[in-house]
Assembly symmetry: D2
Homo-oligomer: 350 residues x 4
């Protein structure tokens, strides 16, 4: 058995850091050998430093691992990052500069001109932007990002439709789970019996990331998709799973059956190459009139499948439907992990 | 002190029936003297027959009132109705035929050609349709309806904008409280930690009722407003208060300040005539970036004020904003009660 | 491979019936070949007749199985039952009379003199009562029951302590999940943001079943344990998992370490015989000061392990601690299934 | 009209501080003229500094009041305090030393020998301890405390029983609302669909405070009540209202009717003197078998009445019942306010 690639986790004690650890526990290619978090945690055993909020137990080797300082010295050359944007903006370039492959869930560099923002099923070719990064030329290091948890489910549902019918307009209203805000995140007094109609910067991210993801690689940058878009983001009392009410208009006429086919037939590089974390089915349509629902459907494809339902004509645009995606798996740790698997398959991880 | 008008309640044991009783407890014009519900309840004391789900106590005279059979014999001539649509379709005409003023929250007759669907602040002139009803001519009885709980908040927010800027397109996504489904209604296993992206017939009602409410009285009928509209309706784990993410496009250009003015200045007949249940302010805009929220804002104006927030440009239509309205007060019992007060003020209740 | 034992499910469409189907999907010994439910479902495909409320999908062979009438004709000879008590009281004897082994979760016959009420780890010898049943003598059929979902977690935690220290007094206050009330069960308007301090007949069941379970087989009956006990039962807004605050007094002095040992060392017939649904560890103590918690700990041992925490001295009795148990798995379907496995291992199922 | 007494609030931005402001808005005797909070808030307008979490609006004069530094200079001579215990331990003596009457909800000094811990209906005579305080002798200042939010509802229910039947043993298991933990307090990821069986130091506080409250003034201290007691404290997903399952044993035999009478007839100084915040009925028994419930009953007596229900024999002690009390009104701000009203009525506030 060839030895696994050693990976480190930046921001290991947060909710997404925990998901990284959980998803990497039995990974065939990667092995967690290094953890870093805030200064407060440094030097402590991970099991002591973290407030573990997942149902499965902390993997024993990780539980007793010491939390390292968040600097490249001693870090492995593949880093998964789950840092707050402001810290990421400072730390991620430092790790890339030191030669690390930084595969990050943070928003800090997503919209940077030479940084790929990738969903492996949607725009794997954008990975080529890596070669434009100065870090790459200098030390071999680079940064690859995945989208916001509210954008990724939407874009997975839109991509097969955009390919066939060309999107002209998208409107999306989200009902997002509290785990999307990290831990402690949303106070219970704010969300019990409540809806919060605002998530800072979320609507802007959804709109610009969606266009970059569905845009085209164009020399040393991405020409964003040109459709118009509007997002409204709400927080609801759900633990995991972002639900979205979506309306779309296409350039080319699309019948319901054609749309259902586009989703059913959608397969891409991760499925073709059998990447370990790839869901068998990236987008799954549920026939029942009242699905998808986070409580019952969020774990399809081990949380990596986006579920869609309620396709019906829209009185303003062409079609409307509901999208559901697991926000800390497909929308965060699993997204980065699948990016890492794509990078490995493409030879970027040595 | 002149004696109060005696009123009866059809469907008195349900959630909306309970709200009628609560709101009528100290009403200056009306007094509950008759209650009817399903056969199961007939003959019992109301306090025994009902499973009271409100925070205030059952008014003592009502608690010991006997539940009457649901027939016009012995009923007072003013009837508030809160029946399931299928039962309403059968019973409401029977009461109107017998000479009763039936002021109903049921959906059964809302879209009937000669039945007014009225929000007193929005389209009080539609009450004139009463004169077209055959019941009216025969026995003096008539039926007046108020809109669905998801339509009323939206229409209150749209009406002042439609008057000034003319709506061309509306898109609305709702996050609706469980009390909107009555009692027992939504099972806890269905909604704890969940979103249900479907409410039977709700989207159709929202779309057609909105157009009728903002339409124009045209001889013996209503010419519905001609804008395009699309609604998507979701159920969330909130007790009271429907929150809606709305986007609109106008015929006439509207600046943010003009829209805020339109809401701030909106007053209508109920305010002018000082109807007892009229809120001082029908539409209230909240400046805070994360409001309105059902847990904190649903009770403005004793539940009769629609609150609005987050006005900002929409990337697809012109403007987007959030609307919140109390679904069992402004969206049901309070809606019917305000209709009754308008009818009384206009001389329809003898 | 020897063929599996055919089993039927009475009450297949309810929450516990669904759990039976889920737990039997890949069972090594049993195969579902017959389903019955209320008249309303009769003749329909199961997938159509049921409102499936679990996260995993309906097993495909079951989804298309027709729902049979609830009579012994054509039923297999091993029946899992999950009926309402009043219906169970009528149907279960009929199936036993016809020669079926009825393994039931219903409360109807639990306290009958000749009916074993069994938790396989606690009182497997009580199964011998079967031989006292008139059905057994007549047709070979019999009835075996498992305890109420609130009693089973408590008794699993108490049994190892009773063996070593002899219980003198028990006080238990429960905080029970909504799934314990079936589906639709608890209305969302009753439980959102609420506690309901009453569950009909639950406290009586807990008290008498606990004593029967920890009692001694005595000829043709059970001599109940003689300790005093008091239960208070509350419903809380939790989906799965009953949490209980327990205080106990022992005849023999017990140190904390001895109690922890008693739990840690507790193994019994199901573990020794390696019954397929037996948890490796029936009772697991969690060291963390704020555990167990239903959201994180309810699925230990695939829902068959009872978790315990917070052992500390009690100011009134001797010790107090918190118990958590999965109410629809260990507390219902899994309890019956483990009983069936014990019966099979003991040669009762042919 | 005589001018009102000027009062200040220490810890004005927290959940309890907000309740003080809300309850003092139209108070006939007191007027808020000074607010202090953490350094972070100092100098800001209160409306900007606080994250207001109540349904009613911030009283306009308070919204624009500047937050003062938390020092006695410039503070009025009557101070309501709602500080974290560690800060209170330092600040409260400083204000008392400077001559202020400090009426505090903090736990810091509750168990101090010369500090009265008072519920005005229960032990108003304990106020006399004020005269033993060195601050009192030096500057006229003093400190008066009210109990923990979990103790106060219990003690209000126990006091009338203790008077008549003498308590020998009490066991209480709480299900406490999230507002008891302040803001942001409990993370939503910790409590949605969950029970947390641990609240730091809460059980100890309940046990020792209950005994002090029901103890006897004895020269310069309190001889605590001598009954045995055990408390178990849990957090549940409820916004406001602590529910408690209680069992008691009396020295003197008590019939159910006598207990109900004891509660029904319980009136005390606050009712006799008609203190502005006193509830008409301090303890109210609800007959319905499934009450009290926080969602429906927590606001009785404007949140100042403790509701009790489900009185029934206990299999271990004598009687058991359920208690409900509003934790931020009767259990915090309202408790302190009623103490202040008692002090004013007794001539302690100048």
């Amino acid at each position: 058995m060839p030895s696994k690639i050693h990976v480190g986790i930046l921001g290991a004690t947060g909710i997404v850091g925990q998901r990284f650890i959980q998803m990497l526990e039995h990974h065939p290619w990667f092995e967690v050998t290094w953890l870093a978090a805030s200064d407060r945690s440094e030097g402590k055993e991970y099991g002591v430093a973290t407030r573990w909020r997942l149902k499965t137990a902390i993997p024993p080797p990780v539980a007793t691992m010491r939390v390292s300082p968040a600097t490249p010295d001693g870090a492995p050359s593949v880093i998964f990052a789950a840092l707050d944007a402001s810290i990421a903006a400072e730390l991620e370039p430092r790790f890339a500069d030191a030669g690390c492959a930084v595969i990050t869930n943070s928003s800090a560099l997503r919209m940077a001109k030479d940084v790929p923002l990738v969903i492996p099923e949607v725009n794997p070719d954008h990975m080529k932007l890596i070669e434009c990064q100065s870090w790459r030329r200098k030390s071999g290091g680079f940064v690859v990002t995945n989208p916001n948890c509210s954008a990724i489910g939407l874009v997975l549902a839109l991509a097969p439709l955009h390919q066939r019918f060309q999107i002209e307009t998208v409107m999306a209203v989200t009902m997002q789970a509290v785990s999307g805000a990290g831990y402690p995140g949303v106070a219970s007094l704010d969300i019990l019996g409540n809806v919060i109609p605002y998530i800072p910067k979320e609507e802007e991210k959804m709109e610009e990331e969606t266009r970059k993801l569905l845009g085209r690689l164009n020399g040393a940058g991405i020409a964003p998709a040109t459709f118009t878009m509007s997002a409204q983001c709400n927080r609801v009392a759900v633990e995991d799973g972002h639900t979205e009410s979506v309306s779309v208009k296409f350039k080319n006429k699309a019948e319901a059956a054609e749309i259902l086919n586009a989703w059913a037939e959608f397969r891409s590089i991760p499925q073709e190459r059998n990447l370990p974390s790839a869901p068998e089915v990236p987008v799954r349509y549920l026939d029942s009139s009242d699905r998808p629902q986070p409580r019952f459907d969020v774990d399809f494809g081990r949380g990596m499948t986006t579920t869609v339902g309620r396709l019906r004509p829209c009185g303003v645009l062409d079609w409307k439907f509901t999208v559901l995606s697991h926000n800390t798996i497909r929308g965060a740790a699993g997204a980065a992990l699948l990016n890492a698997e794509l990078l490995k398959a493409e030879g970027y991880l040595g």
